[in-house]
Symmetry: C2
Subunit: 579 residues, 2 copies
């Protein structure tokens, strides 16, 4: 089946292939990717679209001497296949031997661990400047998708690189799509350039000072090779704008581009997902609640930065197009835009995955919180997970909870998340963020008041000796610990703190009378987090405080249950620790 | 003297002035600004250059119904003078009744508190969208300098606004300068547009989809009025590119643009600074040390994002142009660029003021720390200060110290800061940041070892009962507290922790034998900071922990000694608290 690929152990092996063999190789690579992703899920469309470019790059350039930096790097599967890692795509048992992103620990052909967007040009600019100072002569190639161009960091990188006086090749892989559809004025210019075969005078890349070439046949490996040969060893910055088809070669992926950008396992014949998980999620609960409210409240608008699918906003996008704003991959703008809207009495609700909210720290602090505009932020996917190192959801508490004025809420269950949205929308005193987990919604054993007053915790069970403060979706873990303690004859107090950003000093002080131990449980990083604030409060007292949460480390696809054990987050471990 | 200005109480009062009177008004405003800044310091060049535009805007538009959003807002002095705040510029006793930036608490003509760069278009976009949803018809005007255009947030904003289908006026105030000289490809395009009187086809704004006009005579109030009248009530997004002279009307400011961007008090006749403070600073010590090392180490390069003056890098810029990179206002790029350089064995040293490092959180986490490249970051101006609310230096510890892999160091004196630079440059295991204060370097009473091992604290004085952990430039405060305790018969242990990002568990555990109280002192925010990590460590023990630092609040120009009292940071208060 894989007549050509079988002979390829490393990238240099493709240099002797003829035109037909190169085409066959592309087909074989495409089949490898399609088969693997159909079985275990992954980024499909971006990888299918860029097979020919990847083969052409490795044919023309000499990796790793010449250095490729892949933006987001979710499109690096073909690159991995060609650089000694093909078995991870061919042999099911070895699927997990590679990550879904570039990784210097995997291969000398990878220069950075990348997973966030719009970073390639800036990262590669460091490689180029190091080369120039050392006086070597290799090619530096940044490959960036059109969607990534809307991110500020990409612009900052391009703006700087444009002034370099030496080799720097930026390949803009234009498949006319971000993760969802593109948003931003720059896409009008890309369309014009495609339409004019790159000849339009109005050219943002040329305006920045780049030399520019356009390649319409971005999925034709022989054309790409011919054109890239002309560019190799160029001694100035150039943008090579290539037009590709996202999902090329698999009709479902090229037709339903958004669905197949990243996909769970699916049936190749029908394009249908296999074993779809229909569990109830917080994000679905949130958007359903907002959808109900919006018809009676003209002030509400929904904002997100290019990830409607991940945030379950696609239905809302269709049903309320005039109240839905996808700003493109532009998290900074999303927050400033929300602040401006809120300053005028609107009720913007901006959705971010936890891992991407960190792309807009300064705007949260300056544009939003110093101005104290009552925008609402939903932070989704917050909490420990077995995710890739670049997509962890544990850093939002230390990042956000230490910014003045911001009220950060942690709902414990379905009823609470909707009550908190209501509270956030009704008040006008503060920006309010709500932290939701991507884990299954739990049924609690206790009933909550669902009435909120700033920084007031709720004592759900009044007990003695030990007080358990279970934050957000770790409240249910608190319930379990309490249950176990009861079996040991201790009747602990159980507290739902609700506010990540404040301390209920009155309630905590009252604990000193009848308690000697406080346990905090949070589904996030311990360092700089919620529990440490409790520890500081009780620091001068006799209260013993045990904080539970994640250690300060980058974990990469470590299974969740393993993390729980590592961080002593199982009921047995907690009971053992404190008794 | 101020014949025209005397008659102006509010912006609408200028609408009946004739051409000559408008010119006179501009002169009078300019004199007000020059006089005030010469006496108390402030942003001079940006304000002198934009007087005519400000008068023209208020003449043509109807503020506050029409809404002006000033980028950075350091150029809003004339706007303040025209909107009911002229006495704050005319009467010395009232100078302090206004801040140096726009402020909604001061005036209904100000829509945001702004102090960081590149935010105006995004913030104003929220005003525009709120207007469209409400169905009103006012003009939204964002005024942004050419320097600010290099920041990613500005691009994200422009890219989004370009697709609006309604009124949005972006005025690009092009004075051919950032704070220092401009850096980035976009400035080539601005130069081309100036040269061609705005007619060049190659036009980045048009490429993004904006309508565009160019006004060469940006300091001619009558021309500006004529042109702005044509644009008022436009029903689509437009960029109005105006050419102004930074420092216009005061020859020293228009000649020495960088020096007079922001200036301390000076003599108007000679342009010479009055009472220059020549105190020894950490930043000077750092750059002097690097300058000495660089001749023997070809790997070292220095990076900053558009603020060489604030970081004392101007001499280095002149002496080592090939090792100096000003990336423009592009902090995100600065970090990614540094990571790329470090990945190739270079030794980039990137300088940031504490208030601006927060503009690149995601890049520190993803581009730098996940990749664990050994770049060096200098965080200057860190610590409590009486600064404007938008330029506080207390948030860097919670922001940076909770990112895995990053080693954040806090030097206590001059010898230590150079020793830490040496250590940071010698090791290759981690990115290392060094936190320096803008306060005067203190002489310590104790001698330090200046030998570093990861996360190992130094016990400078071995005592008993009370242990004082004084971080960075608060170590000397620790010395003072120790001195006072001695007078009371207590011989405390004194510790220099050195590492903000780690805990010396061995040393802290050893304290349990002979101590019952630990005091932590840090020149920054308590929440999410260093002290809380110590409190968490001792949480399960009998040790009493007292954390000292700043409360979580935005303070605006509150004098430092007042903050010290408010936060119990005086020696007397600390002694009273713990005894």
């Amino acid at each position: 089946m894989n007549n050509i690929l079988d002979k390829i152990s490393n990238a240099s092996d493709i240099k002797n292939l003829n035109s037909d063999e190169l085409n066959s190789l592309c087909s074989e690579i495409r089949n490898c990717i399609l088969t693997k992703v159909s079985k275990v899920g992954g980024h499909l469309g971006p990888n299918l679209g860029i097979v020919e470019l990847t083969v052409a790059l490795h044919y023309v350039f000499n990796s790793p001497k010449d250095k490729f930096v892949w933006d987001v790097s979710h499109q690096s599967y073909a690159h991995k296949i060609l650089t000694g890692r093909k078995e991870a795509f061919q042999i099911e048992e070895k699927y997990k031997t590679v990550t879904g992103f570039t990784s210097p620990t995997e291969s000398e052909h990878d220069f950075f661990t990348i997973g966030h967007t719009s970073t390639s040009v800036s990262l590669a600019s460091g490689l180029a400047k190091a080369r120039d100072i050392k006086g070597t002569k290799e090619n530096i190639v940044a490959i960036i998708g059109d969607g990534s161009l809307s991110g500020g960091e990409a612009f900052e990188g391009l703006d700087n690189v444009a002034e370099f006086k030496s080799n720097f090749i930026t390949i803009v892989n234009d498949n006319e799509m971000s993760i969802a559809e593109n948003h931003g004025g720059i896409y009008g210019n890309l369309a014009l350039l495609r339409k004019t075969n790159g000849t339009a005078e109005m050219n943002i890349f040329k305006a920045l000072g780049f030399k520019y070439v356009y390649i319409e046949e971005g999925n034709n490996v022989n054309v790409l090779i011919e054109e890239l040969k002309k560019i190799k060893d160029i001694d100035e910055p150039i943008v090579v704008h290539i037009h590709t088809l996202k999902g090329n070669g698999y009709s479902y992926a090229s037709t339903y581009k958004e669905n197949f950008h990243w996909t769970p396992p699916f049936d190749i014949e029908t394009g249908k997902l296999i074993g779809v998980n229909s569990k109830e999620t917080y994000k679905k609960t949130v958007i359903n609640h907002i959808t109900k409210k919006i018809d009676n409240d003209n002030r509400i608008v929904v904002i997100n930065a290019a990830v409607p699918g991940a945030l379950d906003l696609c239905e809302f996008r269709e049903s309320h197009p005039e109240k839905y704003f996808d700003v493109g991959i532009a998290e900074e703008h999303a927050i400033a835009f929300s602040s401006g809207l809120a300053s005028q009495g609107m009720k913007p609700i901006a959705f971010f995955p936890s891992t991407f909210i960190q792309r807009t720290y300064d705007q949260i602090s300056q544009d939003l919180c110093i101005n104290n505009n009552p925008a609402v932020i939903i932070v989704e996917g917050a909490g420990l997970s077995g995710s890739d190192v670049t997509h962890l959801g544990i850093f939002d508490i230390p990042m956000m909870s230490n910014i003045p004025n911001l009220v950060y809420l942690a709902p414990t269950n379905k009823e609470e998340v909707t009550a908190m949205i209501d509270w956030a929308l009704e008040q006008t005193d503060f920006p309010v963020a709500i932290r939701i987990s991507s884990s299954q919604i739990k049924e609690l054993n206790h009933k909550l008041s669902l009435k909120y007053e700033l920084n007031k915790f709720e004592k759900v069970v009044e007990g003695e000796k030990i007080a358990i403060i279970g934050l957000g979706n770790f409240f249910s873990l608190g319930e379990e610990v309490a249950e176990e303690l009861k079996k040991k004859g201790i009747n602990p107090t159980l507290i739902n703190p609700r506010f990540i950003t404040g301390i209920d000093e009155e309630m905590l002080t009252s604990l000193l009378d009848s308690h000697n131990t406080v346990i905090t449980l949070e589904d996030g990083l311990l360092n700089g987090g919620f529990g440490e604030k409790i520890a500081r409060f009780f620091g001068p007292t006799n209260m013993k405080v045990f904080n539970y949460g994640a250690n300060k480390e980058f974990t990469d696809s470590v299974p969740l249950n393993e993390l729980y054990k590592r961080y002593h987050l199982t009921v047995d471990q907690i009971i053992n620790d404190i008794l």
